[in-house]
């Protein structure tokens, strides 16, 4: 089983209402439905992924995240999740506000562009880093908002978003002591659980 699914499932209460932004073909929601009996909805914009969700019986709503989430009322979900998508949206900060307006808590994961491998590639080649976790080139990358652990936490501080939990992973969601100590340098994947400041 994918490690990230297991990690997220452990953080979610049984029977929770969950919204998954950029749900892909519904792996996470299907897993959460089985493991935690959640009521989940996925938001997706890609027609093949939508068909995938429909085929396997995952609730999916065709919607472009860049159009905002005004259609969802305040506090209508227990958890709003957005995995590996924050770096690809028009307005990450507006979306974070929306996620915490809609959900009690939210989970956000993204690739850390401060990872040492990227730094070395950038430094040695002098070019936009292309690697396994971030396989796109500068002109066709969907990742239009690359950021690092530090960048993200600075934004959270400015916006007064409460970081409930931070986890640091490799690109295959493994943890290690070095990346725990120096997340911005050795962590490839950032994992944040956020809450509202009460």
């Amino acid at each position: 089983m994918r490690e990230d699914l297991r990690i997220i499932a452990n953080l979610i209460k049984s029977d929770a209402r969950v919204l998954d932004l950029g749900c892909g073909s519904g792996d996470l929601l299907e897993h959460l439905a089985k493991a935690k009996n959640i009521l989940g909805y996925g938001i997706e914009n890609d027609s093949d992924e939508i068909s995938g969700c429909i085929r396997r019986g995952v609730n999916v709503i065709e919607h472009d995240l860049n159009e905002g989430l005004e259609r969802f009322p305040d506090k209508s979900f227990d958890m709003v999740i957005m995995t590996e998508t924050l770096q690809a949206v028009d307005s990450p900060q507006r979306l974070l506000d929306e996620m915490l307006r809609i959900g009690e808590e939210c989970i956000v994961t993204f690739p850390n562009f401060g990872y040492w491998g990227h730094r070395v590639r950038m430094f040695t080649s002098g070019k936009f880093p292309v690697s396994q976790p971030i396989p796109h080139r500068w002109f066709d990358t969907p990742n239009i908002r690359p950021c690092t652990f530090l960048d993200f936490e600075q934004l959270c501080a400015e916006k007064q978003l409460r970081i409930v939990q931070r986890l640091v992973f490799s690109s295959s969601y493994r943890a290690g002591p070095l990346m725990k100590r120096f997340p911005n340098l050795f962590g490839a994947t950032a994992f944040y659980r956020l809450g509202r400041v009460s």
Partner: protein
């Protein structure tokens, strides 16, 4: 039809009829002294009796959804591209039931039928019929046929409204409701277009207050005009542009002649053919049913509450160029379903064909419909 039935057609089909003899009270309080419903079925009801699918027709539809009535038929049923072996609504998996709604003019009791109480044609005296009434009569037909639960109730436009009403009125009797190009209620603009259509009919001197049949005439001009207006609202500016542009059918503008644009000729043809096969009183009655549909009304205009008791899972599809029931109208249904905690999948199909898209074999539309139906087939088989 061709000499041989195509392999993915349900082939030759025969309309059947079911009579209900006891008196039936409509939502309006009016009663009918019994009525008759014409229907067709395709595919076979399985042993578990859990693979029945109900097709609800739209404004000008009827029971003949798929297949051919005779070898001489030029065209198959109105949704033949979607219903049949290997098609999105696969008759190898499902037992499909399609009927002509009460008040219709294709065999089911309606304004053209004889009122047994008076011995005369109902005409304009046929009582007002609502979507709720249709759903109730569809339920009666299902019971008569030994179908306790529908695996799916499917409809586009006014048909989608019936599917929604099914989920509200008979929560235990419908597993999946498929609402295509639908809306939770008509907008003022929608009602306005319907009123133009009705006024066109009633303004025809041959309408005769609706008693045209007994006077041996038919308000064909009015009904044709109503159809022309309606038809324009089913298409989009782009699709009409693609289909007709400014092409001329006859005449030459540069010579100062009277000209006829292709689109004019097309609309006249649509109006004329429709007015010969459809009943004006039925058209008025069905547009009224559209106008009155508003399931949230009896729940303080709260659609979330209206859907609260539904137990079906929902499929909601809309089309980008549909300005009659635009994607936002489907979005309102989806938002209410999510707020009510119901299972729903929702998609917006790219299409230039306007409201009529729901009747066309648009590849992505059929893909998602097929994906959803195959999921239902898996559930009924397990």
């Amino acid at each position: 039809m061709a000499e041989e039935t195509p392999g993915n057609s349900v082939g030759l089909v025969k309309p059947l009829s079911q009579r209900f003899d006891s008196s039936f009270t409509l939502q309006s309080g009016a009663t009918l002294p019994g009525f008759e419903v014409v229907y067709e079925t395709y595919g076979r009801l399985n042993e578990k009796r859990n693979n029945a699918v109900l097709i609800c027709h739209a404004l000008s539809g009827h029971h003949h959804a798929a297949g051919y009535h005779s070898r001489e038929d030029a065209r198959p049923g109105w949704w033949d591209n979607c219903i049949g072996p290997g098609k999105p609504i696969d008759t190898d998996d499902f037992f499909v039931l399609s009927l002509n709604n009460l008040g219709g003019c294709h065999g089911t009791t309606g304004p053209t039928s004889i009122n047994p109480d008076t011995g005369e044609i109902y005409g304009p005296t046929f009582p007002t019929v609502t979507v709720k009434d249709w759903v109730q009569t569809q339920h009666m037909l299902a019971e008569a046929l030994g179908i306790t639960t529908f695996a799916a109730v499917i409809g586009g436009s006014l048909g989608g409204m019936q599917a929604m009403q099914w989920a509200i009125d008979y929560p235990d009797r419908v597993q999946h409701a498929l609402l295509i190009a639908c809306t939770p209620k008509l907008s003022a603009q929608n009602i306005a277009f319907n009123e133009i259509a009705r006024f066109a009919i009633s303004s025809d001197p041959e309408f005769n207050e609706g008693h045209y049949q007994t006077s041996g005439v038919n308000p064909e001009r009015g009904l044709g005009l109503a159809r022309m207006v309606g038809h324009v609202t089913y298409l989009s500016d782009d699709s009409m542009g693609d289909k007709f542009g400014r092409e001329l059918k006859s005449g030459d503008i540069s010579l100062g002649q009277d000209v006829e644009f292709q689109v004019e000729s097309y609309l006249h043809y649509q109006g004329e053919t429709f007015s010969k096969i459809f009943d004006a009183n039925t058209y008025i009655l069905m547009t009224r049913a559209l106008d009155y549909f508003d399931p949230a009304r009896e729940f303080d205009d709260d659609l979330v509450r209206a859907l609260a008791n539904a137990r079906a899972k929902f499929f909601v599809a809309s089309f980008t160029s549909d300005w009659r029931f635009a994607p936002e109208r489907s979005g309102a249904i989806v938002d209410a379903l999510i707020a009510a905690g119901k299972d729903v999948v929702s998609t917006t199909i790219e299409s230039t064909h306007g409201h009529d898209s729901f009747l066309l074999p648009i590849p992505r539309y059929f893909d998602v419909l097929r994906a959803y139906m195959s999921r239902i087939a898996r559930e009924t088989a397990s």
